[in-house]
Symmetry: D2
Subunit: 346 residues, 4 copies
């Protein structure tokens, strides 16, 4: 009991922040000690976020308690700024924003159009995708939690890329539920109004999206190369939660069979608690509210292409659940602790 870890959540009122609180509230080895917000500072948490009715903490503007571990789900830029003094002071941290995902400050600026607010921390940061990086996460003090799209995309392609099944040249066509736009998005753009998002599909970021360099960086590493050709097109579709990524890449050997590909994938993810290779194409609803990522690879023999579909809940495996999985590794706890729920279906 005395060993329970005291947690701080920066920006608890956003969708990722409140999802973190929901998950951590049932985690047996931690206690939520401090939560921050911006416009909601001064309220009690249940006033601002009613479904967290029994986490009766004040929302403060900065992390007030002496916490042992902190999560930030602030927007990019603000997040590193808020985390830097804590991390410098020895608090372990998971950044759910994009600030530590790109390895270089220059790359960060190219992707996000702002100067990096804490470049001295970039070297300490470890990319938090356990399926490809587990041991480094366990020893890290600062984790860059993957973006929701990169999480789905990299998990879809990692087995093929690392084993050389495909060339380093991928097209990723991703479909996301609208919670991915964040809660604050609403005040700036009527496209998130229910009346305009419902019964509607759109592509965005066609001239460049911040998640493209993140995906390319990680696929290049997996492929043992300096760079990877990646075309990435995200879409918004009328649902709340869920990401579905459809990935295309040329097979190195065009005669590779579906069976061979599926065997490679099964082997790559054997034993993974949350990433499963399925026997038939998965659907996002099979992951809602759970920390699962489901992956189904196949082959288009007409064109010699690998096709992989993957799906996950963008707020769980794509954000808060992944962050808790990383925390468990960093704290030496069982990796699945607090993340055992099955998907909510239908």
């Amino acid at each position: 009991m005395t060993a329970v870890t005291k947690i701080g959540i920066i920006n608890v009122t956003g969708y990722a922040g409140s999802e973190l609180a929901r998950i951590l509230r049932n985690h047996p080895e931690v206690t939520i000690a401090s939560v921050t917000g911006r416009s909601a500072a001064g309220q009690r948490l249940p006033e601002a976020v009613p479904h967290l009715w029994d986490i009766d903490l004040p929302i403060t503007s900065t992390v007030e308690e002496s916490v042992d571990f902190v999560f930030s789900s602030l927007p990019s830029g603000a997040s590193a700024e808020a985390l830097a003094p804590l991390v410098d002071g020895g608090v372990k941290a998971v950044d759910i924003a994009a600030d530590f995902r790109i390895r270089s400050a220059e790359g960060f600026k190219a992707a996000y159009k702002i100067d990096h607010p804490a470049p001295h921390l970039l070297k300490r940061a470890v990319y938090g995708l356990p399926e490809i990086n587990r041991s480094r996460i366990s020893g890290a003090s600062l984790i860059a939690n993957p973006g929701c799209y990169p999480e789905a995309s990299i998990l879809a392609l990692a087995p093929a890329v690392q084993t050389g099944l495909v060339e380093l040249d991928a097209i990723i066509d991703a479909k996301s539920g609208i919670s991915g736009a964040g809660r604050g998005s609403i005040t700036s753009n009527p496209m998130y109004h229910f009346a305009e998002s419902n019964e509607n599909v759109l592509a965005y970021g066609l001239e460049g999206h911040g998640h493209q360099p993140e995906i390319a960086q990680e696929l290049a590493s997996l492929g043992g190369s300096d760079s990877a050709k990646v075309t990435f097109v995200p879409h918004l579709i009328p649902m709340t939660r869920g990401i579905f990524a459809t990935c295309y890449a040329p097979l190195t050997d065009p005669s590779t069979t579906r069976e061979a590909v599926q065997a490679t994938y099964q082997e790559f993810y054997a034993g993974e608690p949350f990433t499963h290779v399925t026997a038939s194409p998965p659907r996002t609803k099979q992951t809602t509210g759970s920390n699962l990522c489901l992956v189904y690879p196949t082959v288009d023999p007409r064109t010699g292409r690998l096709i992989v579909v993957s799906c996950l809940d963008n707020l769980v495996k794509g954000a808060a659940g992944q962050a808790v999985q990383n925390m468990n590794l960093m704290l030496g706890l069982p990796e699945t602790m607090g993340l055992e729920s099955l998907a909510l279906w239908p």
Copy 2:
């Protein structure tokens, strides 16, 4: 051709305003001559509202052309203010806002908490519900277009109230799609964010809603009384268009049969082009995009209550379509002109 009426639409960028433009663009006897907006002023209409791609007019901040007829879909208060000089100058008008629905300035202030900006026009204004008021509309120069909820509620209860089938004591439980909140609503309240409206239902206005006095005023008139007891509870449900009103009232004679009620309703609405009594309970989707209001009355013999359900498209019969129907009457045109489309289903 020379007789074509030149139309102005004030606040064309809102949901009711753009729906007006959509309908009037195919109306053979009018031409849209001037459209106004607030933040979009200065743009061409198709830039601000892309589905109106071939109505290539500039959006101005006030009605610039010498128009013959004007519609306003500004918010309450602002609407009467914008209309007053035009109406005073002899332009016929339909107000889609609430400003001329309540007959007295005091009643308006009680319902909407603002002083009426043009009380001198209240006497000229006619409540624009043709099913109960057709001849007065034909001779009017200023029409108060009914609220979307009152439209569905009054059409549901008018036959029973006017024929004395029920006491003047109604409960109206109404369910609305989220376009009813208006386009501007988005910036003020995250509840209209798709992620929060989807998979959600809520009741609002439980401590009083501006449409309650409008409904009570009209039902009292129909019942030949000074007042009517009306409980009105609106709900938001996760769909874009549509209102569904479920209305309950005590039968004057509790032994009245379903058949007798249905016969009364059939007779009341015989010949109505847009309000139909159905043989089985209707669904909102049967009205989407059309100017129909569907009404189904029945009886709960256990409790001696009349139950009536009604539905319509809140942006058509509940707003822009009703406004065009009123315009047709005011201009001496066939009442259904420009409103002939069937519902879009599924």
Copy 3:
């Protein structure tokens, strides 16, 4: 460990059955030992219901293991038939179907149009709503789990009825997500096709619904009377999970204040783990995936009516969660065990 209770789930492939499995899989004091299905018999559970991926049991056509406790979510009629031999043999049971909710075989036949298949068990069955019936549930061997609509309706009205705040004369206007129609509904009626349910609202059961006598029976008991006047109109709205009930009843003393009503409700539900009186109107999404029922009472002073809104997740507090809460009471376990999850939001 040796005391772990072995559970059987009859008809695990329906929505309530699979929700039971989802909840019980994380319950520390039970183990799922046997699951049955109809058309899916012969498959493994994860093949038929993929989100239950790690409950690797065969689906059989009857309960095969020697189970200690059984749940049935078969359709009405079939459920009592399947349960009777087990209950007669000493297995404790919760019936999620309607078969033991109406106290008399005649009442059952009037409501469901079939002869009761096990009338000898009616006297042993206890209505499983702990908020009004806790001690009797603890001692029972056969529980009639409430219907989803009655659950929301009775919890909304019980405090007012039992304390005499209102007359025994209620109108209940209920809105349900479409999972309430059940999984099997799809093959019989295209109205459940996404294309026809989406962007649509409808009322049904206008000429009588099986849940009306259940509500009337329980409200009458609470009011110390033989009968209660109840008008009940259910609606289907385009969402998957959630019930929202809006209830209207005449105040015994029309001058009763909102504050007095809210105080009565707060007192009535003080200490309840799952039924909460809220300070502002609740929304269904605040309950999704959780066992909460949220209740908000208010007063319409114009008409002297009580208005109460309530909401819950129809598959959890309205079905499987309520069933587990009942099981916990019957087994002497902590009432909230296995039901601690917060709602999934957004």
Copy 4:
């Protein structure tokens, strides 16, 4: 008046059939004379399809009237069988099913796994996509209306393929609303149940879909080749209407600019009444209920790929509206007659 064309609609109760009736009812030069159904034969049309309330015709099992022009929206195989005697007898026809889209009987069998029921008609059939085939359609007596996915895909790629901007090697990632599955789909598969389609995305046809050879055939023709490499992956997303196709192809000259591509597209579709090149990425809702196809081409300079997104309403430009456009051409009527409605938005 005497020249009005008498129309037959085979299988009017499906989604494409009822959409045809909705459009044709307002067409000034035709009259619906006969409608057929399968299980609904014997009913009046408004009983079976209530939104067609004023088309009061009997539903028969075969086309009974002596019609001048017939549409079929039967399933594949059954459609050609029903059309053959009519076409042989001199009635002009548009087949909305897939039966005449693939030019050879062998290709048809490979794609649809059934023998072609009327191979003698294959040579007379013309592929009904006016943007690439207008003059041949005008002279045809039997039209193969394009599939909904091919319509969006071919219109997205035709300008690039015909002008040699890209190699004949395309990936088409398409997203469809669920009405595309057809009304009959419901009885066979619970995946179309609202509760299972809502908040869900899935890919299907991963091992081959009947629309792939149709797309490949037409792109090959446009590119002046015998064959084209085409990977086609369709997805179902939770909306009723709309198709969104995201298409990827390698640029012949990787340095081709976005501006050059957009100019090529603008020129290709200049003057087209229904297919428009947009200045920013379009959304499906801009086409709902209209006969528009919106196309936006751009370039991924990192990878030298063309990316084109296109969208349309699958039941209008993707089925019934396209069929009426073809009919207008075949009858020598103005191409846009009856198809002038703007999209219903929001």
